[in-house]
Amino acid sequence: MGALAFPAVFTLPFPRHVMIMIFLYGALATAWNIIAGYCGQIALGQAVFFGIGAYTSSLLYTRVGLTPWAGMIGGVILAVLVSQVVGYPVFRLRGHYFAIATIAVGEIVQALIINWDAIGGGRGVFLPIKRPDSFLNFQFHTSKAYYYYIALGLLLLALGITRWIEGSRRGYYFRAIREDQDAAAALGVNVAREKLRALAISAGLTAMGGSFWAQYLLFIDPESVFPLSLSILICLVAVLGGVGTLWGPLLGAAVLVPLQEGTRVMLGGTGKAIDLLIYGALIIVISVAQPGGLMGLFGVSRGAGSAR
Amino acid sequence: MTRLLEARGLDVLLGDYQVLWEARCAVAAGEIVALLGPNGAGKSTLMNSLSGLLRPRAGDVLFDGHAITGLPAHRRVSQGISHVLERRRLFPYLTVRQNVWLGAYAREARADRETQYQKMIELFPIISARANQLAHTLSGGEQQMVALARGLMSRPRLLMIDEPFLGLAPLIVEQLVEVIRRVNQDGVTILFIEQNVERALSIASRGYILESGRTILDGPSSELLHSAEVRRIFLGG
């Protein structure tokens, strides 16, 4: 496995950082793929779960002293709970009404967090640096390799869950719902319940990504972990690679993250936004030329067309 | 008898699915012709290919001797083909008057718009009675009349009507039949789709019968009316 050996070959932190970002965004997009790609529900509020994950583990760590690993699990639980409470009414909507409703939920949650003084409000949370490196504290300052492997683990977990879903009854139900809700219901699929389950899985994985992020950056605030732009970026990564396929979201991350980092590194210091100019143009070109996502280039096509 | 419209060898796909196989039909100027066949036989698909809403994968459509196979729908209107879709398909949130008025949107038809509109009011008094009502508030029969008027506004040479009597009460059906005859007498050739065999053949002079995407039978109404084959197709036994 090339991915495992990568840190040994590339000892510089920056390529490792890019790989970590690829893994993280790959995992987030894979999580989104479960609800959107397989289950066909185009939710644009993933940042809510990401933020919940980040805040739960961070607050449990700074206030209670709980290891971020346990906090991560706490975040997953909370995110799943929130996903069920929010999902239940919102899943009644279809199409653009649904997508906009998820955006609305995301914006409301972000505003509430900003105004919630007890958890720092707009000031966010600083996580204290603890030395030496400790697995328990989820902090590694001497080498990025640890973060690398944790992110890789997260990605593999997301891919594994997706793989498992693909191969189980659940996956068949999800895809049936994406293709035709009525036909699925006629075959005895409890559409509302399955959608909630898909969202729960997606939310849980996304929350883990949030906890990882908080430990990686050691600083979180509502602007950086709850923004709409994150929800949209997650969606873009998956769509770019190809939704409804196991590897598509990862491929999207593997292309988009280096592209973003690369153009910024090479052109970003000019203050002229040339990097974003190229980035925007590329997105348009890809969506016109390869509307089913880059996976189409490999002859793998999944019915993105039916995810309407 | 000159052939106003002729279609031959039409293979038509809807999405990935083939619906017509070498379908054909021909209409002479001045005729009333019925397209018959059970549900799903491909009647509407055939008509949509004639009006240009669908592009056949193979085959030709000729109008007045010219090939129009590749022409988009809006250009065929200018040539004199009018098509009233199944279930009327009025613009639901436009008024009756606006609906009818739009029937003469094509450049060629605009000059005579006012006179043609007056003619339509004569033919369908309902139009002036309901002129400012939104189309979706009309009853089925009223909608069908407005749809016919809209279709006639472009002063077509060929009027194609998809299931004009669908879901209508017998009294309304009779009125409509009367109108269709009058329109025909005014020189408009008519092709229509109908499920009720006898009703269809009592209006039409000839009929085509489609089954499972193929034209399997055609002939004068009197012949078809007593055909055992027709009975087999529609009633079984």
């Binding site: 105004n115 590897w247 280096p258 | -």
Partner: protein
């Protein structure tokens, strides 16, 4: 699938090779490499775009290309401590995003092999980027972020030359007290407006704490959303509460909209005391300068001091020539921080991080050599400059003038601010 996996691996590898290669030449001992990390794109890109030229001027001074004829700067000419080593700058863009700040800091340190980092303007980005520097043991000089929490994280490698919001806010209340004495007016109630960012929320919090200490009653406490599409209701509420002083904390966007809305809704604040940022940016002054007449702000620097301070005047000439703009608060702070770093490197006589750090700790720059009105630069154990001094400035006739402390003042305070109907 196999073909796919192979291709994916290929993409990774090609990328990794590209990313691993340092973009510049390999660092030589004769070169001092400094990473400059600012927002160059995004909503606050102006800060980075305006700071870049002043950093370049500072570099030119040290590299002997440009002359600033004052002892402190002469001393740095040609970096004698390192026997004429040349300074090379590496600029990076963080777009105002903490995660990019972290990534770029990491890249600067490990790939560009910078010996020190200057940045990042946004407090949130400074927070993450400085942690990276801490991990790698690279000096991080922060010339401008004002979030008070930043220097309290127990970082060894973090140095801040600028005052932070507590200093600044304290100055406001000190001013109120002085002003009450001087003019015999009462400033008893305050109305606060601030946005939900780290900067806004911090400022709001400190203002409330200090108001309590100083016996000022906060009668209106409004947090609003960054980049609001309308601020009508906010201004209506200010108008209804009508506090003795309105104390806004805003970025440029909302600051501009606040003034315009206040004008439209005829809100006549008697006194406006802003927390820097948006309210003193050139955009703000250019856009609504006349309408914002009488707006006061805390600041570490003001353009009218340029004429009072020869150092500032000389630098301003260079800056205007290079960038076509007058020197103002952001580049002034950026320059001060940057030169402090260069001074430390020069004294360290080495690019070794630990030696630079020790030199920074020992920094003691006298106030008269600065373009700022501070008492000088000297760091405490947290890396915070203790010799800072904030000034209070006021917009008069479309320009900011220093009005406090009284001894630095170039103009007298306008109070109360004339009502809209009485203007012009």
């Amino acid at each position: 699938m196999h073909r796919f996996a192979t291709s994916l691996l290929a993409v990774f590898l090609v990328f990794a090779i590209v990313a691993a290669a340092p973009s510049g030449a390999v660092a030589q001992s004769k070169e001092i490499v400094i990473g400059v990390l600012y927002p160059m794109t995004g909503p606050t890109a102006q800060a980075g775009v305006d700071n870049k030229p002043v950093i370049e001027i500072g570099t030119d001074i040290a590299n002997g290309v440009t002359d600033l004829p004052f002892p402190f700067y002469q001393k740095l000419k040609g970096m004698p401590g390192l026997k004429g080593a040349k300074i090379r700058l590496v600029f990076a863009d963080h777009q105002g995003k903490p995660e990019l700040g972290q990534a770029e800091a990491e890249r600067l340190i490990t790939q560009e092999k910078v010996h020190a980092i200057v940045g990042c303007w946004h407090s949130g980005v400074t927070a993450t980027a400085s942690q990276v520097a801490e991990r790698h043991g690279i000096p991080f000089l922060n010339p401008e972020s004002s979030s008070p929490g930043l220097h309290r994280r127990g970082l060894k490698w973090f140095f801040r030359t600028s005052p932070h919001d507590e200093h600044f806010t304290q100055a406001m209340f000190d001013f109120f007290r002085d002003f009450e004495k001087k003019r015999g007016v009462k400033i008893k109630t305050a109305g606060l407006t601030y946005d939900g960012t780290l900067f806004g929320a911090d400022s709001g919090k400190i203002m409330k704490e200090l108001a309590k200490k100083s016996g000022v009653d906060v009668t209106l406490d409004l947090q609003y959303k960054l980049q609001s599409t309308s601020l009508q209701s906010e201004v209506q509420r200010l108008k209804a509460a009508n506090p003795d002083v309105w104390m806004p904390t805003s970025y440029q966007t909302d600051a501009i909209l606040f003034v315009r809305t206040a004008k439209e809704l005829d809100y006549n604040a008697k006194m406006v005391m802003a927390q820097d940022a948006g309210h003193i940016s050139p955009d703000f002054v250019q856009a609504v300068g006349r309408d914002a007449e009488g707006t006061m702000s805390r600041a570490p620097f003001n353009t009218d001091l340029i004429d009072k301070r020869p150092v500032a005047k000389a630098l301003n000439a260079l800056y205007t020539k290079k960038h076509g703009k007058e020197l103002y608060d952001f580049p002034a702070r950026s320059f001060t921080g940057y030169m402090t770093l260069l001074d430390a490197i020069n004294r360290a006589g080495s690019t070794d991080p630990e030696q630079i750090r020790q030199a920074l700790v020992a920094t003691n720059i006298p106030g008269d050599q600065l373009i700022m009105t501070w008492d000088g630069i000297k760091f405490d154990e947290n890396g915070q400059n203790t010799h800072v001094k904030a000034i209070i400035i006021q917009l008069q006739g479309g320009k900011f003038y220093t009005v406090w402390p009284w001894d630095s003042a170039t103009r007298d305070v306008i109070y109360p601010i004339p009502a809209w109907k009485d203007r012009k």
